[in-house]
């Protein structure tokens, strides 16, 4: 088979998987939040509300497509696409098994970091283009937030790269044969988790959409499919970063029992996603300036120190 | 002390016959008045006699007459013979047994007040009395005492007998006038009093039979003579009807001021054997009960009032200890509830309610709060809240009994009746005026 065609097919398969995963992550989140909050979550569509995503999709498609007056039509239309594209594209370089990836380039991790940072363009442009003060504030916050946390995340990941000695994700997984990086790189892990949450604009870092302050932030003016794309991007981001987190810190598809590695990865990803939901259910939102403080004054120095420490240890060992 | 001024000859001769009556000096007063006295002189004599109305209130007749305005309207004299008070039967005796005395009194009085039309209003049940009266009037007319130019003088007088339809209320003077006018017997609003606007809106004098029967002797003997009989403030005699648990019930004409004890113990022969006096209702069912310790009260208007009761028409009802105070109240209230004219609210509604409560008490279905309820109802009906005094009369006995015999009421209210004791009581009916006659 033509490798290009095969890659395309793999890509398509990955996209389908991601979309399905998105749909069910959303149901799962609603269920989990419901259970945290003494509710049931969705129950009406299908058994246990399992067909809810279908209903939501139908609803989203049928919703009136509102375009506010005076917007930059091109960018307004483009923005959700950027966000979704970025989220989906990350997965191209993420392996889900020893030889299971759309493509597994040697510098996959760099690709992941780069694309993860790209998502914010969608948010920024979407907010900026929709001629709404709330959306603008949301997009400004998102941009600032991204800058604040991108560095710390990079440094945390860098520590793993240093420890693993490779920027290939498969390599990083293989490097955890003896010990998952979560233990030696616990600081990096925590920083990664925090930054991943912030990257995904999820609570308590959901400043860009901060409902009670900015109504709906950057996507205030988006409806129907466009809105759905933002939501999809957010969830897919979360999933992908959880997979990446599992790969980087939790040993990827490796596991003690003789179960397929894919299952292991799924479990670990699930744990990370649940963790995010749990946090969302529990914590209040940070204030904008505190978020910046936290990012620059705490996370970055710690990440740097951790990187330095790791580097020193690796150097000493090496 | 018995003094037979009005009852002279009753039971001895047939006074219904004008001949007999004249033979005993009858119609001398008419002749005296018309031939020798001016109307004013007659009126003055009556005033001098201090003749007080025998109907109950004791208002001096002379003063009543003096109220008539002289404005050219015709004047009327109405004789109140609507004797309906339970226990009272003295007017009936006068009407039936001494009719000419009344006619003579009416003529003298009419002459005195300048009236040429007089009505003798008799109680509906006095069927016989009305017939006797009618015959007496015929005889008097034949003899020239009634009619045009009496005894050849300028004075003319028509007297008619009007029989009521059987309503206690018509003993009240304004209701009596309404009744004569052919209307429903309802008391009128006063003022104006009948003396100013009475029968057919003209000046009218209303006097009781017994009052007017006193006039002939005053005309004959002079006011001063009459004023000298009995109590200074209530001169003359009073026919007392006594009934109940005495040995000799009946009418006794006594000098005013005779002690109650004398009437009960001497003339009426005392309480029936083996029993003792419990109470006396001195003016029929409408009066406050008197107890044995009040037996020395003189029988005159003021002394009786001072004793907390009234002389009224002197229809004394004597009860011994077998009498149940509650039962007496019930009989009385049944009478008032039946006889209330219905015009004003407290009497119409109140008497019926009181009757219902008393019937319950009497029947053993009393409730503890009933005694207080009765006391409160006595206050709601009595105390001058009604249009005519009959409302007050309706609860006078009950009010006094609730004070004097409260224990009996309380006992009834707790469901205890005194029926055993009442077994011994002879049958009687208050409503017919022959109460408890042993």
């Amino acid at each position: 088979m033509n490798p290009l065609l095969a890659a395309l097919l793999r890509g398509l398969l990955a996209i389908l998987c991601l979309l399905t995963a998105f749909a069910y992550t959303m149901v799962l989140e609603r269920k989990v939040l419901g259970y945290f909050q003494l509710r049931w979550g969705p129950t009406k569509v299908g058994p246990w509300g399992m067909l809810q995503p279908l209903a939501d999709a139908v609803k989203m498609v049928l919703k009136e497509d509102i375009r506010p007056a005076g917007i930059d039509r091109f960018i307004y239309a483009l923005a959700p696409g950027i966000s979704l594209f970025a989220a989906l594209a990350i997965f191209a370089a993420v392996p889900i098994g020893p030889n299971a990836a759309v493509t597994d380039p040697p510098g996959g991790l760099l690709y992941v970091l780069a694309l993860a940072a790209l998502g914010v363009y969608g948010v920024s442009l979407g907010g900026w283009s929709s001629q709404s003060k709330y959306a603008l504030l949301g997009s400004l916050r998102a941009t600032a937030q991204m800058i604040s946390y991108e560095l710390a995340m990079g440094m945390a990941v860098l520590a793993v790269v240093v420890a693993a000695g490779t920027v290939s994700l498969t390599g990083v997984v293989q490097a955890q044969a003896s010990i998952w990086f979560v233990l030696p790189e616990i600081v990096a892990f925590v920083i990664f988790l925090i930054c991943a949450t912030a990257e995904g604009n999820r609570a308590p870092f959901d400043l860009a959409e901060a409902e009670s302050e900015l109504v709906a932030g950057y996507h205030t003016e988006f409806t129907g499919l466009r809105f759905a794309m933002f939501v999809m991007a957010e969830y897919i981001d979360m999933i992908v970063l959880a997979v990446v987190g599992a790969l980087l810190f939790l040993g990827g598809w490796r596991g003690p029992a003789p179960v397929p590695g894919f299952i292991w990865l799924l479990l670990k990803t699930g744990v990370l996603i649940f963790l995010q939901m749990w946090v969302r259910a529990t914590f209040p939102r940070l204030r904008y300036d505190k978020l910046m403080d936290f990012g620059w004054k705490w996370l970055l120095p710690f990440a740097f120190l951790n990187l330095a420490g790791t580097a020193i240890i690796v150097a000493l060992r090496g | 002390m018995i003094m037979r001024l009005l009852t002279d000859g009753i039971g001895e001769v047939d006074l219904r016959d004008i001949g007999t009556y004249r033979a005993r000096g009858g119609y001398r007063a008419v002749e005296n008045a018309l031939r020798r006295m001016s109307p004013k002189e007659v009126a003055d004599e009556v005033s001098a006699a201090n003749l007080r109305g025998r109907g109950g209130a004791g208002f001096p007749a002379g003063r009543k007459w003096s109220f008539l305005p002289g404005d050219g309207r015709p004047r009327y004299l109405c004789v109140n013979g609507d004797e309906s008070e339970p226990g009272s039967f003295n007017n009936r005796m006068l009407v039936e047994d001494n009719p000419h005395l009344l006619v003579e009194g009416v003529i003298c009085s009419s002459y005195a007040i300048g009236c040429s039309f007089a009505v003798i209003y008799l109680r509906g049940e006095f069927y016989e009395g009305a017939a006797i009266m009618g015959r007496a009037l015929e005889q008097a007319a034949e003899a020239g005492y009634v009619g045009e130019h009496i005894l050849g003088s300028d004075y003319s007088l028509r007297i008619v007998v009007h029989r009521g339809a059987g309503a206690y209320i018509c003993g009240e003077e304004s209701a009596l006038l309404e009744s004569i006018e052919g209307k429903r017997g309802h008391p009128r609003v006063k003022p104006p009093f009948p003396a100013v606007a009475g029968l057919y809106a003209s000046p009218t004098v209303v006097n009781t039979v017994e009052t007017l029967c006193c006039v002939p002797s005053i005309v004959n003997n002079g006011g001063a003579w009459f004023a000298g009989i009995g109590s200074p403030k209530s001169p003359g005699t009073k026919i007392c009807s006594i009934s109940g648990h005495v040995r000799r019930p009946g009418n006794y004409e006594l000098v005013m001021g005779t002690p109650l004890r004398e009437l009960v113990e001497e003339h009426a022969g005392g309480i029936r054997d083996g029993h003792r006096l419990k109470m006396i209702l001195p003016a029929g069912a409408s009066s406050a009960a008197m107890t044995p310790d009040q037996l020395d009260t003189p029988l005159d208007f003021d002394a009786m009032a001072a004793a907390g009761s009234l002389l009224g028409s002197a229809g004394l009802i004597v009860c011994d200890e077998t009498t149940c105070a509650v039962k007496v109240a019930l009989l009385g209230e049944s009478f008032y509830a039946h006889e209330s004219c219905g015009k004003c609210t407290p009497c119409r509604e109140g008497t019926k309610w009181v009757e219902k409560v008393l019937a319950r008490l009497e029947g053993g279905q009393g409730r503890p709060e009933d005694v207080d309820l009765l006391k409160s109802l006595v206050g709601e009906i009595g105390g001058g809240k009604c249009l005519c005094p009959l409302g007050d009369f309706a609860v006078t006995y009950l009010g006094s009994a609730l004070k004097l015999f409260e224990d009996e009421f309380v006992a009834h209210a707790h469901g205890r009746t005194c029926s055993e004791r009442l077994q011994a009581r002879p049958t009687a009916s208050v409503a017919t005026g022959e109460v408890l006659s042993a």
């Binding site: - | 309503a167 429903r184 609003v189 509830a337 039946h338 006889e339 209330s340 004219c341 219905g342 015009k343 004003c344 609210t345 407290p346 119409r348 509604e349 109140g350 008497t351 019926k352 309610w353 219902k356 409560v357 319950r360 709060e369 309820l373 409160s376 206050g379 709601e380 009906i381 105390g383 001058g384 809240k385 009604c386 249009l387």
Partner: protein, 663 residues
């Protein structure tokens, strides 16, 4: 003036004023049941007991006149206790009817109980039960249980009506009110009882269960059923006229209403009302109908008849539009006697002699009769007795001998004579000769206003119609087939265009080319001038059905020249059949709504003299068409038979009365 203090407040009133009124002047309400300002005090209910200084007993404020320096207290503990007691006693036998009682919410018993009465009952021994919901046709419903025996109704009958329709029955706690020995109310004034009654013992059949007082919007206006124009209060609920109440105007009605005035209110809701304009029998829009009218008005000589229903404003517009107009569509010829002073209703009270000229006020202006019936001296001239209640000096004469009889009267000794006349017959000279002010009783409600607006024409319009001289005849509230003395069907049929504006379909709407449905009473505002010359305003209280007359005239421009050369008005020979007004005739309406039609006697009554040999209750035929019942009236002129007006269509001078052979 007498000065006294009431609850410490000093007030000065006329001598003879009763305490209850003085208290009212001082701003103190003393509760009363039996007292009513228009009735003599009775002192029966004992509700108004007050404490007067220096008087040991409580006194009734409704019977006690004021005296100088009196000090009255209305709120002392004794007074309160007395009020409490009276109310408690009034309530013991009162049925638990508030929820179903029409009076609920405007009941004095409720109001005073709430204000002065006991809050809970001590009475546990069964109530006395009496008859409930007794129908007393035509309009009253009697509930004996609710009666508190204030006797206002009985006294009203005695003192105001001098009738005895409602009397006291039985005695004491069994006493009640009722129509002794009858099952209906005989008079024309039953409705006032429902207002006098302080509780729900006397309620009215038409208003039965219709509304609650708190739902009513109350507007003062006037009644236009007869020419007196009594003042009323129109009570409207949710846009529907529910009832009329007394709205005292001493100059006009003295605070009473007759039954026709009170109950003729169903027009607004009547099912049989005309709903659409009709042109030649077809329903059309108003625009088309008015265009047709406009054409008709321009096509030839125009004349108009009517005026009884029209407001003064509408009458003026009618005159402007039709030119030749006349309100005299019935038997009445004059609205005023030229050259004679006009009397007012109040003059009747001042008058020492009242002369009734072949007029029956009780039928023609019933409330006027309440001023006449207890008058000391009434001379009643005519073939038919005009005084039904109360004493009168009857001057019986033949129908054509009224003028003669009047010439025999000498009123020179009278200080304030008043002549009451209904404007019928050629009596002007004879009446003028009496030299007394005349109070005209009109056949139609606003005759006086129509007269003032100039709705009078020399000559007979209908005769002109018969001669073909009129192209367009407009009947505005007139039905000549019923009210015209002669049969004029032929004349109406001869008119090329007959316009009828009316509320209901009538005999003339059948003949009409154009029918315009118009707003009825209480649906349109405007002024009316009453028989005493008093102009008053009627209010529109309900939504109109159709356009008002005035609005119709406004939408047409003033039109054509009046027709000329009309023949002189014919006079009619009365024969021995006299048509006389009765309560349900006259006014401005051509007919009534169905509820009232039903309330009227099923068969009309003809009155004959005993010498005619007809027994009361005999059925007779008039013109072999109309059936009627005979009533015997010895007060009639022997040669006279009286037929109620407006009951039969087309009764002319040639009408014949035929007795159905009695079995």
């Amino acid at each position: 003036m007498i000065t006294l203090t009431i609850d410490g407040k000093t007030v000065s009133v006329e001598p003879g004023t009763l305490l209850v009124e003085a208290a009212r002047a001082a701003g103190r309400d003393i509760p009363v049941y039996c007292y009513h300002p228009k009735l003599a005090p009775a002192g029966a209910c004992r509700m108004c007991l007050v404490e007067i200084e220096k008087m040991p007993k409580l006194q009734t404020a409704c019977t006690t006149p004021v005296s100088e320096g009196m000090a009255v207290h209305t709120t002392t503990a004794r007074v309160k206790e007395a009020q409490h007691g009276v109310l408690e006693l009034l309530l013991i036998n009162h049925p638990l009817d508030c929820p179903i009682c029409d009076k609920g919410g405007e009941c004095d018993l409720q109001d005073f109980t709430l204000r002065y009465g006991p809050p809970s009952s001590r009475f546990l021994d069964g109530k006395i039960h009496r008859k409930k919901a007794l129908d007393c046709p035509p309009f009253l419903v009697i509930d004996e249980e609710r009666c508190i025996l204030c006797q206002r109704c009985v006294r009203y009958e005695d003192e105001i009506l001098h009738e005895r329709n409602i009397v006291l029955i039985e005695r004491g706690s069994h006493m009640t009110i009722g129509t002794e020995g009858r099952d209906d109310y005989g008079g024309y004034y039953s409705g006032n009882n429902t207002e006098l009654c302080p509780v729900g013992a006397l309620t009215s059949r038409p208003y039965r269960f219709k509304s609650r007082p708190w739902d009513l919007k109350m507007t003062p206006t006037i009644c236009t059923q007869c020419s007196l124009h009594c003042n009323v209060r129109a009570d409207v609920r949710h846009g529907d006229l529910m009832r009329l109440m007394i709205h005292d105007n001493p100059q006009v009605d003295g605070g009473w209403l007759c039954d026709r005035g009170r109950y003729a209110i169903g027009d607004a809701k009547a099912a049989e009302r005309l709903s659409h304009p009709l042109v030649r029998g077809g329903e059309v829009s108003w625009d088309i109908a008015l265009a047709e009218v406009q054409n008709a008005l321009e096509a030839g000589p125009v004349a108009g008849l009517g005026g009884g229903r029209l407001t003064n404003e509408a009458a003026a517009a009618f005159k402007q539009i039709c030119g030749t107009v006349d309100w005299r569509v019935g038997r009445q010829t004059y609205a005023r006697v030229p050259g004679v002073a006009e009397a007012t209703p109040s003059d009747l009270s001042e008058a020492d002699v009242i002369v009734l000229v072949d007029t029956c006020p009780m039928e023609e202006a019933p409330i006027l009769d309440l001023r006449i019936r207890h008058h000391k001296r009434v001379i009643d001239v005519g073939p038919v007795p005009g005084m039904r209640v109360g004493p009168a000096e009857r001057v019986v004469c033949a129908p054509d001998g009224v003028a003669e009889a009047l010439r025999g009267l000498d009123l020179s000794a009278a200080k304030h004579p008043v002549v009451v006349w209904n404007g019928r017959g050629e009596l002007v000279e004879a009446i003028r000769a009496l030299g007394a002010p005349v109070l005209m009783v009109h056949e139609v409600a606003n005759a006086r206003g129509a007269h003032d607006a100039g709705l009078e024409t020399e000559g007979d319009i209908l005769a002109a119609c018969a001669e073909g001289k009129i192209h367009t005849l407009w009947l505005a509230g007139a039905n000549p087939l019923r009210s015209y003395p002669a049969d004029v069907r032929a004349a109406l049929e001869k008119v090329p265009v007959l316009i009828v504006s009316d509320l209901y379909p009538t005999e003339v709407t059948e003949l009409a080319t154009i029918v315009l449905p118009v707003a009825g009473p209480f649906e349109r505002a405007g002024t009316f001038t009453n028989l005493g010359g008093l102009t008053q305003t009627a209010a529109a209280v309900v939504a109109p059905r159709g356009l008002s007359d005035e609005r119709i005239f406004q939408r047409l421009r003033p039109a054509a020249q009046p027709a000329k050369d009309l023949p002189a008005r014919r006079s009619f020979q009365g024969g021995n059949l006299l048509v006389r007004p009765h309560l349900w005739s006259g006014g401005g309406n051509t007919r009534f709504d169905r509820t009232l039609e039903a309330a009227r006697t099923a068969l009309a009554t003809v009155r004959v003299h005993p010498s005619q040999g007809l027994a009361a209750g005999t059925h007779v035929m008039i013109n072999d068409v109309h059936e009627a019942v005979v009533a015997v009236d010895p007060g009639l002129h022997p040669a006279v038979v009286v037929v109620p007006d407006r009951t039969f269509a087309g009764l002319g001078a040639d009408a014949r009365l035929r007795a159905v052979v009695p079995a």
